[in-house]
């Protein structure tokens, strides 16, 4: 509070204030683009009925994936935080590894595995005389794939929430007559409810933003509709109209997620903090717990990646094309994370002076990449008309802009957390030691947040590697990334060829994911 009071008392146009305002505007511009295009564009080629149908599918998908990730993620977090069983130390961070796998890669692998003419069902029909009653194409398949792709968001949020709970509260419940299960149900879970809402909101945001997986599984959502409206019909207005409900949902989800932040309602407070008592599981219960965690990792990572790898070994990949695409992915990843982290840092240093800017950036994060890209098409069109020869550079710049606008909030979070180590009195101290506002930001705040900036750039890097819809819409002609190559092969039904670029994405992002998840897994409150 003292911080706000201090900055409120001397709120004036300083350099950090200006930079934060600029970063906020970066996030705002594409959203304004979408809204103006949708409202003031000429007649669209899309029927209201279609919008409704797409929206309904998106809603069902969000509902089912939200439910499934809530159950899987919570159960995993509860097992990991409060129990010891074979492998639990490894599972603690390995459960987050599916974050390295793009959802479309899971879709390719499972579609192939469970195909009517695929190996699994051929074997079943041949040897057991019985067939699975379902295939992967369709809403059910999409729910399956996205649930295993996105449960880590809930897992990480719930894990942090359980770790943050003070044992005293649980013990109080025990002395008041609740047994262990009842204490979980009546105390631990309700206390973690905000975290659950936040985790599920993230999973649902990702679900609504997904293009590659649902497109491949023949599920028509608002996001696939946007990409199709633009790429097939060339109608920016239709795309923008499809984007409007997504934007509204994004704002709603964001609101839910914000409410779930620690520090609100149910935080355990500053009560003396002790680790929750850990229960040693043995016998059948221990193996059940291990099996459940192994199932999640197998379904989200080992099985699909293994199958893609197995198939890819049989093919002779077009290495020239893959290397080119790989270098593009890497370039976009590095440039994207540099720009995004720079903007997020500007935002973080200025948030105390301009809280509104951070809120704008979060709205960008909740906005699907496809929507972001559509919002940028209008300014892009103007620039293209002005400078027709600069297509390539402008397209790359816009693409990086789209990544930055979308991922700024994701990068802002760790940087903000890192900056909490700088107390208001440290800034006052720097000021009294002869540094101006800008100079003390550079000499004290930036160096303290350095580690957090690395974390932030890794998060952005991973997301850029996996990004598909915005890249598809904004990329220059004939400019492929690994994700685009995989998507193109998959659309041509050349699944074994789609495996190699998918695996390359995973290989590029896995070290970063491992580093991040271990860091998250081993961090505890107060450290």
């Amino acid at each position: 509070m003292a911080v706000e009071a201090f900055f409120a008392a001397r709120r004036r146009i300083s350099i950090p204030f200006m930079l934060a305002a600029i970063a906020g505007l970066v996030a705002l511009l594409p959203l304004l683009g979408v809204i103006t295009t949708a409202l003031f564009g000429e007649t669209a080629d899309i029927a209201a009925r279609d919008i409704f149908r797409y929206a309904a599918t998106s809603a069902w998908l969000a509902l089912f994936v939200g439910g499934a990730t809530a159950v899987l993620g919570t159960l995993a977090a509860w097992l990991i935080v409060m129990h010891r069983f074979p492998g639990s130390d490894i599972f603690a961070w390995a459960l987050a590894l599916p974050l390295a796998v793009p959802a479309f890669a899971l879709a390719y692998a499972y579609t192939d595995l469970f195909d009517v003419a695929g190996p699994l069902r051929m074997t079943m029909r041949g040897n057991m005389g019985f067939d699975l009653p379902f295939g992967m194409r369709g809403l059910g398949g999409a729910v399956f794939v996205l649930s295993f792709a996105f449960y880590p968001y809930v897992y990480l949020a719930m894990r942090a929430a359980f770790l943050n709970q003070s044992v005293n509260v649980t013990e109080a419940a025990r002395t008041l007559g609740c047994d262990g299960w009842l204490a979980l149900y009546r105390v631990a879970l309700p206390m973690a409810r905000p975290a659950l809402a936040a985790g599920v909101a993230l999973a649902v945001m990702e679900t609504l933003a997904d293009y590659g997986a649902v497109q491949f599984l023949n599920v028509q959502t608002l996001t696939t509709g946007i990409v199709r409206a633009w790429s097939v019909y060339g109608s920016t207005v239709s795309a923008a109209r499809l984007a409007l409900p997504l934007l509204a949902t994004a704002a709603l989800l964001l609101w839910i997620e914000r409410r779930g932040r620690p520090g609100r309602l149910h935080e355990a407070g500053n009560a003396r903090w002790r680790t929750l008592p850990v229960k040693n599981l043995s016998g059948r219960r221990a193996w059940l717990a291990s099996a459940f965690c192994l199932l999640l990792i197998t379904a989200g990572l080992l099985l699909p990646v293994g199958w893609l790898l197995f198939n890819a070994l049989d093919t002779s990949p077009d290495w020239t094309r893959l290397l080119r695409a790989g270098s593009h992915s890497l370039m976009l990843g590095i440039m994207g994370s540099a720009v995004t982290v720079a903007l997020a840092t500007m935002l973080a240093l200025g948030t105390r002076r301009l809280p509104m800017a951070a809120r704008l950036a979060s709205l960008g994060y909740a906005t699907p990449g496809a929507v972001m890209a559509i919002g940028l098409l209008v300014p892009a069109g103007i620039i293209w008309n002005l400078m027709p020869d600069s297509g390539y550079i402008i397209a790359i710049a816009l693409l990086i802009y789209a990544y930055a606008a979308r991922l700024m909030a994701a990068a802002l979070e760790p940087i903000d957390a890192g900056l909490t180590r700088v107390t208001p009195s440290m800034i006052h101290a720097a000021r009294s030691l002869g540094r101006s506002e800008t100079s003390s930001a550079l000499a004290v705040e930036l160096p303290v947040a350095r580690g957090a900036m690395l974390t932030a750039s890794l998060i952005v890097f991973i997301d850029v590697l996996k990004e598909l819809p915005a890249t598809l819409i904004l990329r220059p002609f004939d400019f492929d990334t690994l994700a685009v190559v995989a998507n193109n092969y998959a659309l041509d039904e050349r699944l074994e060829q789609a495996g190699t670029p998918s695996i390359l994405i995973i290989l590029l992002s896995l070290p970063a994911v491992i580093w991040l998840t271990r860091k998250i897994a081993f961090s505890r409150p107060g450290t």
Binding site: A9, T423, S425, A429, S432, L433, G434, S436, P447, V448
Partner: protein
């Protein structure tokens, strides 16, 4: 006395229609330690922030070394005032070593001079062995020395310390305080220490400034303030006091616990402020009844009653009076003050 290093004249600061600081006047002198004492919420931290330039003044002015640094509509930035600030939480930069923390404010000096200045400060505050350590590895007392050395690096004419000893544990606190203050006095800086602890303030201050409700009630040496507080409010800031309604006749106030000379007071109603240690055993004194006795080591806290009035006395001696007993006491006029009612 010399020209003050810092003068705050009639400064006020208003928060939401409330006077956080109201017409405060304060002078700080080179080489002297001034303690700003008051209960929490009295405005002493706000006054410190006004002096430091962290907040603007709404009226009045602050002058440092002959230059007006704060006046309505004008606030010289903290970095341009030539003040040093030491915070309650010390606010050491976690990413810099002890030596780099101390050298932080010396950016404009050439490297060799900066090193020399840092070495001098390290030696002055007995920190040589810790030069390369990280702040989080230091004890509270060490952190405080670093914070003070850092604040003094630019040779400010005024050093401001906000509750500097409150972060330290009881035993450590006294030792650290003593040695830090001894080191501080050698620097010749004008020092302002904000504290809410009256005993601490009296122990360390050359000059006290008593503050309550945003106003400065009294300034003066600790004995002046303690023994001759200007008002009952000021008296209570520095320690326990019993206030008794008295009647003055012929230049003498009669109380049930003894008489107090009041030579310049007109006859009539008045209030007597009696410090607990003003009461002493005196065979020639007035008889009172012992209501309660608490053994406090160096002294005993004895509650005495006479004519429906009670008073707390702090008496030395090892033989405890018994509860219910009658003893004779008199008052030390040096530790009593009469105020017109």
């Amino acid at each position: 006395m010399t020209v003050p290093s810092l003068t705050a004249r009639d400064v006020s600061r208003i928060y939401e229609n409330r006077n956080a600081v109201a017409n405060a006047t304060l002078k700080l002198h080179a080489g002297r330690i001034t303690c700003l004492l008051g209960p929490s919420g009295c405005g002493k931290s706000t006054l410190l922030r006004l002096v430091a330039g962290l907040e603007p003044v709404d009226s009045g002015e602050i002058e440092i070394g002959g230059t007006i640094v704060s006046a309505p509509g004008k606030t010289v930035a903290p970095e341009d005032r030539g003040i040093g600030l030491v915070f309650q939480d010390f606010a050491l930069f976690p990413h810099l070593s002890v030596a780099d923390n101390i050298g932080f404010g010396l950016k404009n000096l050439p490297a060799s001079q900066r090193r020399e200045r840092v070495m001098t400060l390290l030696a002055q505050f007995h920190l040589e062995a810790l030069a390369d350590k990280w702040p989080h590895t230091l004890s509270g007392g060490e952190q405080q020395r670093v914070a003070i050395a850092r604040a003094l690096a630019r040779s400010p004419s005024v050093l401001l310390l906000d509750e500097p000893f409150s972060g330290l544990d009881g035993h450590l606190r006294a030792t650290v305080r003593q040695s830090v203050l001894a080191d501080l006095r050698t620097t010749g800086t004008a020092v302002l220490i904000v504290t809410h602890d009256p005993e601490e303030a009296m122990l360390i201050a050359d000059e006290l400034a008593l503050m309550a409700g945003g106003r400065i009630l009294q300034t003066g040496s600790p004995p002046e303030c303690y023994l001759r507080p200007v008002s009952i409010e000021a008296a209570r800031l520095l320690g326990e006091a019993t206030i008794l309604p008295v009647r003055i006749s012929g230049g003498v106030a009669n109380t049930p616990f003894g008489i107090i000379p009041a030579p310049e007071m007109p006859d009539g109603e008045a209030n007597a402020m009696i410090r607990p240690e003003a009461l002493r055993f005196d065979m020639a004194g007035v008889p009172v009844k012992v209501v309660d006795v608490r053994f406090g080591g160096a002294f005993q806290t004895v509650t005495l009653a006479a004519q429906d009035l009670m008073i707390t006395a702090r008496m030395s001696g090892t033989s405890l009076p018994e509860v219910g007993a009658q003893i004779c006491v008199s008052l030390d006029p040096a530790r009593t003050v009469i105020y017109p009612s």
